[in-house]
Symmetry: C2
């Protein structure tokens, strides 16, 4: 059994959305061996840092919170689709010839996984692509950008997917994973009454 | 397939170690629907909040950091051992008649799972119990207290286990789980250069 780690490590110098300072996690060592017999760290971060999942509350007023997702949404059959050759956005036409099954966890691999710095022109999923995934009745979607859309003022892609109760996992790292079928596991941290949560995502080779 | 969530939800009013104010997580809503088109939360917390894993750096100067644990440490065959009748500490003699196998993830269920407030007399694992688990060459240990030991100035239980490269998962919630064998899954969040990390832990009924 081979386990692929498809998560982005959280660190002070990690890539954050649009390089915004307020999106950088802050680490504070609250005990160390100069003065204490243990070592302990506090961390402050935005819940959309690195590998995370969005819940409906992120884009819908009074939307469902992340702790209401059933755990089953975060494990099961997954398909990694390699769309690395696409510039700009992933549309319906890029997905229709792929073997997407009902209840799949669909992992969109793009050239974002190759970025060493934040790319303002990152590849994203268009509303037509999102509608196609909804129609296919997938379980969950993941992508290797820190956003599944960019500069869409109405958040149409988020609303299409989250409106269909399809969790959106952003900030995956897919450089080392090939197109194909896997088992996905990535249960989000249990946090009450919020719009997103962090997770460690893995793919297991069948 | 039944999935048991054995994690403690993170919230502002959750139980924290010895009720220390600085151990309480702080939530900050940085965008909401009064002023924005999305909802976003920042969170500040100690890495030993709720369900988390300790790495050697927590008790050993220059000890291994949490991101160096192989993922295999956090999935696989698990045994839940019900020790709810025990007061005080779990010793070697409480474990020797249990069916602990090499490479098991050993989950210690105690009366801690019934506590609604922080119990300063929580049940913990003594050095003799820890040595027994090391001798049995287990993979990982978990317990439902926020500490696997208490008031041991030398951190003997932590040092015995972490010194043998056995990850210690603290803060499990085991009230709804019976003694028996399961599959455990609980990959910690990928955080660079720290002594602990948060995780969502589940047990899957075989």
């Amino acid at each position: 059994m081979k386990i692929y780690d498809i998560s982005i490590p959280i660190s002070e110098d990690m890539i954050v959305y649009k390089n915004r300072t307020e999106k950088k996690p802050v680490f504070n060592i609250v005990a160390d061996y100069d003065k204490n017999s243990v070592y302990e760290t506090d961390i402050c971060l935005n819940l959309h840092t690195g590998t995370h999942v969005d819940a409906p509350l992120h884009v819908f007023k009074n939307g469902q919170m992340v702790d209401k997702y059933p755990l089953e949404k975060f494990c099961g059959d997954a398909i990694v689709i390699d769309l690395s050759i696409i510039e700009g956005c992933i549309d319906r036409e890029h997905l229709t010839d792929k073997d997407i099954q009902i209840n799949d966890i669909v992992i969109l691999k793009t050239k974002n996984s190759e970025d060493a710095i934040f790319n303002f022109d990152f590849t994203y999923l268009s509303i037509s692509g999102a509608r196609y995934l909804s129609e296919k009745k997938i379980k969950t979607v993941g992508i290797d950008g820190l956003g599944i859309e960019r500069n869409q003022a109405d958040h149409a892609t988020h609303k299409e997917l989250l409106g269909q109760n399809i969790p959106i996992i952003e900030g995956l790292h897919l450089k080392d994973v090939k197109e194909g079928r896997y088992q996905f596991i990535g249960f989000p941290i249990s946090i009450a009454s919020v719009e997103a949560s962090l997770l460690r995502a893995v793919l297991i080779e069948k």
